[in-house]
Amino acid sequence: MTIVPYRRSVGHNAAISAIGRRRTRDRQTAVMLAGPGILLLFILFILPAIAVFAIAATDWQLGAKSFSFVGLRNFELLWQDADFWHSMINTLAFVSVCVPVTVGLGLIVALLIEAESGFRAFYRAVHFLPFMATMAAAAIAWESLLHPTIGLLNQILRSFGVQDTNWLRDENTVLPVLGAIFVWKNLGYAMLLFLAGLKTIPSDLYDAAEVDGADGPLSRLATVTLPLLGPIAMFALVVVALRAFEVFDIIKVLTQGGPGKASEMLLYTLYVESFEYLRTGYGAAVSVVFLLIVIGLTLLQVFVLDKRVHYQ
């Protein structure tokens, strides 16, 4: 009789220590599995980000042997720099027009492709090709299309009696043209996202809508399709916005920010400041602004929009 509780408590302790051992083992496994990823994340993203923040607080010039800390001086300069603001406004204008247009057109094309039954794969491929193409190569094609004298566009317009425009050298047309190229390039991506999204809508919902009386194309869209594409649309908006903020290659290849600074945008300014004027500290300050925008967009998606558009 006296032995039983004693043995029981031994068993009890043994169980506790077994659970403890198992916890330790679980933790070790977790570290082993996540460790490499975290390490890589640290080396590839967090360290550089910290470095950028640090460099932004110096007056370092690329290649210079010495530098000194200047605190927020670079940001002050940035704040007063009309060129930076010009570039910022260009970027914001570019983003605020191109993103809705790209996503909107992507949605429309996806809906049209989904409604069509015959050549679905063909249309999908055609629209997705620009996204797969290297921008540098595609830019050359665009350059020849837009060439003021021998370009196809002007030749066509000429036959309608429209005067020649030097599309990439005119400060009134350069941004819209770059915007159009951006839309052309990213449309397929948005379309693909929407096509995937359309596939996930249960056909029962369309049936229910039909029985309920929402059987016209527009009321179907309003009752089922668009609301259910909400999460995808959100994702597409953020991803395309990120791509629009970091537009660089078309500027570098086609305009170098010109004419004047008419087509300069944030990432291009960053590049010029850092690698042409070698003002690395100042360039880093631009990077910080850029990073904040990107982080802001991401947080917006994670915390605000995700909550509002997910249903389950």
Partner: protein, 386 residues
């Protein structure tokens, strides 16, 4: 309220013929259940009645009009889907309001913001909200009106789906396996609620299920479909006691009917039904015994067939005894009361008896053979002398 009449409905998907000239009359206010194994075309038939699918041949009448050319919304039918198909982005209230909004408001009035300005919208919206609330109260889902489907349990979603079907007071309710996503207990209670709902509304219900308990308990008539064909339409009791086809007999009833090749029973039949003929005439004939229509007796009783107990299952009120008899592959299952009959232990040799009138006789094609209802004796005797 409306009757439904199907006339020679046929439907193929590509090369597969899913429905084969189905004709069927459903009375006004009737509760008709379509049952059948998976893939036999029940959903397809229901969707054709709803107008979600177009038939290749034949015509559908609801009430006194042919509805073949009409879209679902004009057919005055409501449908409850197996998946419930609730709009995930809308609250329960808005979900239930959709059929009314689509009917009572014009396109302009339905628009967000702008619609508010159109004349009469406010009043319409208020009357819709009142109607929705009334139905919600009746179904006991009023506290859920502000929630979204994602925040509801399966049973609650099911009720909302029924509510959405009810709000506009359709003449016909179509339900496609509405309970199949619920757990067994909830299914039984929702089954009762659906029956009450039918009694209360008094409109025509067409209900698809492959749960025979649902079919048997709910329906005025059950329509058994196999491979795109109607095999038998009858009240549940008739389907059980007097099946037209061996498939019907096999589908209805749990534990299912014992089907035995008549040739395996020829000696027994000679003594039990005084059948004295050539065994060749029994080729292909199948005899069915309901488990509760077989009785266990002592070995050697006149007119009985010997067997050996393989297994005894106790189910509380019932006891299922599995009995092997000579020349059959599967054991026969006998349903007895726990205290009836001799002591039953696996391995014991006993004997089985059955009344001739309880034998269901089917020919090689599976069709029921009956001269007069349930008179197995005469059929067998007639065949043996033929």
């Amino acid at each position: 309220m409306a009757s439904i009449s199907l006339d020679g409905i046929g439907k193929s998907f590509g090369r597969t013929r899913v429905l084969k000239r189905i004709s069927l009359d459903i009375r006004d206010g009737e509760f008709l259940t379509l049952v059948g194994p998976s893939g036999c075309g029940k959903s397809t038939l229901l969707r054709i009645i709803a107008g979600l699918e177009l038939q290749d041949e034949g015509s559908v009448r609801i009430g006194d009009r042919a509805v073949d050319g009409l879209p679902p919304k004009a057919r005055d039918v409501a449908m409850v889907f197996q998946s419930y198909a609730l709009y995930p982005h809308m609250t329960v209230e808005r979900n239930m309001a959709v059929p009314l909004v689509m009917r009572r408001l014009g396109a302009l009035q339905r628009m967000p913001l702008v619609g508010r300005l159109a004349p009469g919208t406010e009043r319409m919206r208020a009357s819709i909200a009142a109607d929705v609330r009334k139905v919600a109260l009746a179904l006991g889902i009023e506290p859920l009106l502000a929630r979204k489907p994602g925040q509801l349990s399966g049973g609650q979603r099911q009720r909302v789906a029924v509510g959405r079907a009810m709000v506009r007071q359709p003449a016909v309710f179509l339900m496609d396996e509405p309970l199949s996503n619920l757990d067994a207990k909830l299914r039984v209670s929702m089954r009762a609620e659906i029956k009450e709902l039918h009694a209360k509304l008094g409109v025509t219900f067409v209900y698809v299920t492959h749960d025979q308990a649902e079919a048997m308990t709910l329906s005025d008539r059950v329509d058994l479909m196999i491979d795109g064909e109607l095999v038998q339409i009858a009240p549940p009791q008739v389907l059980y006691n007097d099946p037209d086809h061996v498939n019907v007999a096999a589908f209805v009833g749990s534990p299912s009917i014992n089907l035995v090749q008549a040739t395996a029973l020829s000696e027994w039949l000679a003594s039990a039904v005084r059948w004295a003929g050539d065994a060749g005439n029994l080729d292909g004939v199948t005899i069915g015994f309901r488990p509760e229509r077989l009785s266990i007796c002592n070995e050697g009783t006149a007119g009985s067939i010997a067997g050996r107990i393989r297994l005894v299952e106790h189910l509380g009120a019932d006891r299922y005894v599995h009995i092997d008899i000579a020349r059959t592959e599967r054991p026969l299952i006998v349903r007895t009361h726990p205290h009836d009959g001799p002591d039953l232990a696996p391995g014991a040799t006993i004997a089985l008896q059955a009344e001739p009138k309880d034998m269901l006789v089917f020919d090689a094609a599976g069709r029921r053979l009956r001269k007069r209802p349930c008179d197995a004796t005469e059929i067998l005797i007639a065949r043996s002398s033929a």
